[in-house]
Point group: C2
Chain length 181, copies 2
């Protein structure tokens, strides 16, 4: 099986169960590969699998969230394009955020730097767009933070309420949060 295909099957396990809950048995079941085969592809074991998953997702976000943000359309349209990417990425809130999940327990010790960098990049990118609309840097930063807070918070609420409408309403608010009235 091509490595990319394997990684794509590992992803939902880490997102749903977290690092400690993502046992090699579950990862094996999800990929259809026996444990030894997984270790053939990832000699660094589970830790390397998680790293591969983090990198894969980082790239996915780059293409589906950042790229739309950096076109030369109007800020509002760029943000709308981003919300489409976000809705797809989180399956309308039905799939947890790897960043949020990996910032708990042992995983946080192992991957904190990468998580922090990913989030920082996302915040910086958002803040920059907002600045382009004429907002002061500090204000822009706060709006970017508020947007990320909304995304992450909505994901938690949907996990518990099972009501995806909450998520969709929340991300539909993103333009209003980010852009000056």
């Amino acid at each position: 099986m091509p490595k990319e295909k394997i990684i794509s099957k590992l992803i939902p396990v880490f997102r749903h169960y977290g690092y400690e809950g993502a046992t090699v048995s579950r990862l094996s079941a999800a990929t259809g590969l026996k444990k030894a085969s997984l270790y053939h592809h990832f000699q660094g074991g589970k830790e390397q699998m998680a790293e591969a998953v983090l990198e894969y997702i980082s790239n996915w976000i780059e293409e589906n969230v950042f790229a739309p943000l950096q076109s030369n359309k109007l800020p509002r349209d760029r943000i709308l394009a981003m919300t489409k990417g976000i809705d797809k990425f989180y399956e309308s809130g039905q799939t947890p955020c790897l960043l949020a999940v990996m910032s708990l327990g042992e995983a946080d010790n192992l991957f904190h730097q990468q998580l922090e960098q990913s989030l920082k990049q996302w915040l910086d990118t958002l803040a920059q767009i907002v600045e382009e609309t004429g907002v002061e840097p500090q204000q822009a930063r706060q709006r970017a933070e508020d947007a990320m807070i909304t995304i992450q918070g909505a994901l938690v609420l949907v996990r518990v309420t099972k009501d995806t409408k909450v998520f969709q309403r929340a991300i539909a608010n993103l333009p209003q949060i980010l852009l000056p009235d």
Copy 2:
């Protein structure tokens, strides 16, 4: 050791590591009790420990978050009192939310109903206060959801950025989110 004391020492382990990461060894270390002693107090094992922790926290919230909300002061003052409870409860964002953490992996299968009910109660309580200020029920509900989204999202951001100011700014916004202008 009194049971309440034991539970209070179990709490940070579940909050920080999640259900799967909260091993009996860690729970033992945190309480200072050997494994067998823990099983003496909680014959249902780890699952019962988690249940006890959920109940304990539910009561704590009742006293420190709901009670302030139900005084007969002005809505704005009640909400400000709640934010104090919230800030204390989450240690300015440095301690994860049990609700968010337990809504992942196996724990979600075991405790989903309790989690859902806790969140629902919190949302209902908030929405009711907002209604008292003359907001339409549906609008009030949305504001309550937005408040919870803000709290939960800020917790995630702080975990990753280690910047508690983000959390404090977020909960300082709660009155603005909940109350009509």
